[in-house]
Amino acid sequence: MYSNKVMEHFMNPRNVGEIENPDGVWEEGNPVCGDVMKFYIKVEDNRIVEIKFKTFGCGAAIASASALTEMVKGKTVDEVEHFTREMLVEELGGLPPNKLHCSLLAVKGVKGAIEDWRRKKNQNVS
């Protein structure tokens, strides 16, 4: 059902956990409907230097979050804001049609964390 890449991320997810005092944090999803993902980021010079996640969800949800953290780590926030779910699905070697929403959840989650970082940064400036 899943690609080897998905199974590999599912069994050995990267960047699991939380960050204390993150620069940005975002929770996406709803436990009643299925998956919930939470991303924590540290940003230096507009670059994501650290990222952690936690996921309540299926194999595709865990793998999507894990793979995305690897893809965005070390990238600038501007680069990450151009990430699409198609890029993540490609990285994962495909997802079953009814699991595509998991990839969207991950992308929305990471972008949410970036938005949170921007919001906090702007507050500090003003």
Partner: protein, 384 residues
Amino acid sequence: MKRIYMDYNATTPLLPEVLDAMRPYFSENFSNPASAYQSAQVARNAVEEARIKIAQILNADSSEEIYFTSCGTESNNIVIKGVAFENWDKKGKIITTSIEHKAVLQPFEWLGRYGFEPVFLPVDKYGILNPDEIRKAIDKNTILVSVMWANNEVGTIQPIEEIARICKEYEVPFHTDAVQVGGKLKIDLKEMPVDFLSLSAHKFYGPKGVGVLYARKKARFQPLIHGGEHERKKRAGTLNTPGIVGCAKALEITTKEMELENKRLWHLSEKLINGVLERIPIAIFDGHREKRLANTVHLSFRGVEGESILLSLDLKGVEISSGSACSSADLQISHVLKAMNCDPIAAQGATRFSLGKYNTEDDIDYVLEILPPIIERLKTLSVL
């Protein structure tokens, strides 16, 4: 890696004795039982012997009350739509429960679009229908009541005799989907006043592609499939001789072994339930602890997701199914758990272990060994 199959409610392996019984009817005697020559007579005899055997096992009045179909889903569809077609002009109320298999729920919903009035009765937190609900819902416009004998997901057994008697009192035809009961519980149609009953051979170690429909002699229904005189004009189509022979053989064997096998499975399933509840604090048992099929264990794990558990167990060689939204095609949690008013978050961590003939005590020990670290790992990953 050794594979440990624990999904017997989904399907079962064909017994070697059943395959042996079926074998002569594939190539050696392939004749159409409806043909006129001698070899066809042999095939016809095999089908009729199977019909008689099944009628005897179920304690039906006559083998003429047994019809062969292609599966349990077809049997359910014939009854529900067949009774509706019988009442097409006057329409009427059709009553069922909210925990039925989709092979009952969807025909009911479909008939709702054609002027029938489907009613889906609630169940309690164990998944049991209170027979008083039938009394409250049934009226002079009711044309059919359909209640599953035992639930496929949680294994809860319904008070089917009482429900059947209420329907008889009101002279409303009563159907029971007994797909999860065939070969697992004693079915005595002289004791039990049901008008229609559905079975599926592959759920009791028979072949896939064979269903049984029992219809009491006086019960009226229209056929779904037209195209010949087969099955007393109630189900056209060339008879599946090897499948039918295999179905009867499988029902015979499982009925003979039922009592001992149920004792064995009860012991194994209780060990599994107790073991999991002792070892895993977030585990919840779903269903009724006593009024359940001996083989069926439904457990939810709050804060982890069912498909993740399924995948993790699969990687360790254990095959189960999950009731979580993520593992279903429609991304909805199980309608059965919803009807039982289960905690919707815990329901995301729903798993079903359905045991069978080839499971051993060692299998249970193995699951009890590997499951706690799986749940622990997923819990560490989880936001909840």
